[in-house]
């Protein structure tokens, strides 16, 4: 029997390994034939969608890892738009709305409202949260 999962991620590199722990979990979910409904980056986890991050070559690129996994598992990488805006991560719409000098959202991530989190948690069999302190 397979299950569907919604995964909530509260932290990202370099301040937290929550994004890596969640990625490991999501890989195992897919390996066992289960489905991922949506991954929702919230709080400081939205940093994963920052297009202006420069990752040292000897450190993992959690953003690239998630993009590859989302392509494999065909699920959405959703980023809370309100949390992202507070942290300087904006798409073209937000750039225009707030007259900001540039956009900073990495391609492959989607800015969404909190309603998408509730929708995904209602539809999934399981919802799993990875807090910022996850190691």
């Amino acid at each position: 029997m397979t299950h569907s999962f919604t995964i909530i991620v509260h932290g990202a590199l370099p301040d937290s390994r929550a994004s890596l722990a969640a990625h490991e979990f999501a890989s195992a979910v897919l390996d066992r034939g289960n489905r991922i409904e949506r991954v929702f980056f919230y709080h400081q986890g939205v940093a994963i969608a920052q297009n202006l991050r420069a990752v040292p070559t000897d450190e993992p690129d959690d953003s690239a890892l998630w993009l590859a996994l989302a392509q494999q598992g065909k699920f959405e990488l959703a980023v809370c738009v309100a949390a992202a805006e507070r942290r300087g991560i904006v798409g073209i719409d937000e750039q225009q709305r707030y007259a900001l000098p540039s956009q900073s959202l990495r391609e492959g991530f989607t800015l969404v409202g909190l309603g998408q989190l509730i929708d995904a948690s209602n539809r999934a069999d399981r919802t799993v949260t990875f807090p910022q302190a996850a190691s």
Binding site: Y42, H43, L114, G115, L117, I118, S121, T129, P131, A133
Partner: protein, 118 residues
């Protein structure tokens, strides 16, 4: 709609994290999701009544949380042990939360199909 339990832990005392977790609770209620809220560890101090505003005029946490009532959210719980540890007066708490021991907290978690940590 699945029953959602939002857990306010230590990190929700950071103003931005607490605010964002509260936003998720309110959006859930706006979508007619049955919502409960549980405060654990030092997060119980967010419920202390009569807190001062922040040094830059930010709303105090108890004032921010008062919006839960406006959204009809009255299933509010806190950890009984934390209440004692942080020496809070049960009669001086915002939102009239119900204190639960660990066994009751486990039962509360089991009653909800979705548990989201803040």
């Amino acid at each position: 709609m699945k029953r959602h339990l939002f857990v306010f832990g230590a990190r929700t005392l950071q103003r931005s994290i607490g605010r964002e977790t509260l936003d998720a609770v309110l959006v859930s209620a706006a979508f007619d999701v049955p919502v409960s809220v549980l405060f654990l560890g030092p997060a119980v101090t967010a419920l202390r009544s009569g807190q001062n505003a922040g040094p830059y005029g930010e709303k105090s946490m108890d004032r921010q949380l008062s919006v839960l009532t406006e959204y009809g959210i009255d299933q509010i719980y806190l950890c009984r042990d934390a209440l004692k540890r942080w020496k809070l007066d049960p009669d001086r708490l915002a939102l009239s939360p119900k204190a639960l021991d660990q066994r009751e907290q486990a039962a509360l978690i089991r009653q909800h199909e979705v548990v989201i940590y803040g």
